[in-house]
């Protein structure tokens, strides 16, 4: 009996189908064709939902600097909890490339930009950044919702980043940069940002409880808590970890 190739070999097949030595086997093996169909389906899912939401952060990690595009400088560092809300981030939302084919409706994604000198660049998950860095945010939505951005630090402090006032979350209908921003508080250690997109109003008190329950247990908990629980049904969420260094 001829054994079917592993997933790793089928990955190689997908990368170069025209010259693949597996082509004869695949042509005669219904099981492998079904596996390849499923792999292609997941590849389409990546191109449709994962790539557009993450390419900025991934590509940003390859280049450490990015031209400063339309940010206005803060007058002075402030606590992350007291982030100003009057400054617009003018980064244009990035859309999929010309060869992108797929349906709209990707889930929530958030891109965090950090100012470095006279430049601004997207921050990768887990990246080390200055503990006093200025941050801006851009979101991508699957559907209009009530949006929250909060952060949790190693002391269990939950800070609201957006909206800076009001309760229930900001009504957001389109993807794009968020008004305002934040300046980190200067304390070294991990800080995790959560973006929550709720189909109905979600009070800050409820969100704070969820965030503290998930990530309020010190540095290890902050680094590990990739999702919040006890959110309204139908909510989507995204998260990103910052490692603040002096």
């Amino acid at each position: 009996m001829i054994r079917c190739p592993s997933d790793l070999k089928l990955e190689a097949h997908l990368l170069a189908e025209a010259s693949s030595p597996l082509a004869p086997h695949v042509a005669s093996c219904g099981s492998c064709r079904a596996r390849l169909d499923e792999m292609r389906r997941l590849g389409d899912e990546f191109q449709r939902e994962v790539y557009p939401a993450t390419v900025d952060a991934v590509a940003g990690a390859a280049g450490r600097r990015r031209p400063f595009v339309g940010w206005m400088l803060y007058a002075a560092p402030v606590s992350i909890a007291a982030a100003a809300a009057a400054i617009l981030l003018l980064v244009q939302p990035r859309s999929p490339g010309d060869d992108y084919l797929g349906t709209k409706g990707a889930k929530l994604a958030v891109t965090v930009y950090a100012q470095a000198g006279d430049a601004a660049r997207p921050v990768a998950d887990g990246e080390v950044i200055p503990a006093t860095a200025s941050l801006r945010f851009r979101v991508r939505l699957g559907a209009p919702c009530r949006l929250w951005l909060v952060s949790v630090d190693a002391a269990g402090q939950v800070s609201r980043l957006y909206p800076p006032a009001g309760d229930g979350g900001a009504e957001v209908t389109a993807a794009g940069p968020l008004p305002g921003g934040a300046v980190l508080d200067g304390k070294p250690g991990p800080e995790r940002i959560y973006a929550i997109c709720s189909p109905r109003p979600l009070t800050f008190a409820d969100l704070e409880r969820s965030a503290r329950a998930a990530a309020g247990g010190g540095e290890t908990a902050v680094r590990a808590a990739r999702s919040l629980r006890a959110l309204p049904a139908g909510s989507s969420q995204a998260t990103l970890l910052l490692e603040k260094r002096p």
Partner: protein, 169 residues
């Protein structure tokens, strides 16, 4: 490096991500079983891979390297959940159905069993039992000798059977 060079690097990174990202995503989804977690992990893994961008251009060797980095990263995520007492959130890994389980007594590889072993042994067990790979292929993908694969797998099977036997009611 000037802005132009950095821009070229970002474009190259985005192009590689578009081509090779699907393989990372599929691997992460297979090990994590959750689309959101796989999406995050894919991004994290690719940032790691980009530290050696030239290696990503080497089509002959890039896939085993991707397999190794993604596997280690995702198994580490699973270990973190276990440490936090959230292993129930991490689905068991189904044993490859097209081959006998090589003496492993269950049809699934539960995190509580996997977590009893060191990182490399976990990767070997997943490669052989879950991915259904030959020992040679696992050795090449993980960058270790075939003998090491056999030795670690034998130790895994022996101890896993003892653990499962003790756990049965």
């Amino acid at each position: 490096m000037g802005d132009e060079g950095l821009s070229d690097q970002r474009e190259q990174a985005a192009r590689l991500y578009r081509v090779l990202g699907p393989a990372v995503y599929r691997r992460c989804l297979r090990l994590l079983g959750d689309r959101e977690a796989a999406k995050d992990a894919t991004q994290e893994v690719f940032v790691k891979l980009l530290r050696d961008m030239r290696r990503l251009e080497e089509r002959e060797t890039v896939l085993p390297w991707i397999y190794r980095v993604a596997t280690n990263h995702c198994l580490n995520l699973r270990r973190n959940l276990r440490r936090r007492g959230e292993e129930d959130l991490e689905p068991a890994l189904r044993i490859a159905s097209d081959r006998p389980p090589d003496g492993y007594p269950e049809r699934e590889l539960a995190q509580k069993v996997l977590s009893r072993f060191d990182a490399r042994t976990q990767a070997v067990a997943v490669g052989v039992l879950v991915d259904g790979m030959e020992h040679d292929e696992v050795a090449a993908a993980l960058g270790i000798s075939r003998r090491t694969v056999s030795r670690k797998l034998d130790r895994f099977l022996e101890n896993a059977q003892k653990f499962i036997g003790r756990s049965e009611p």
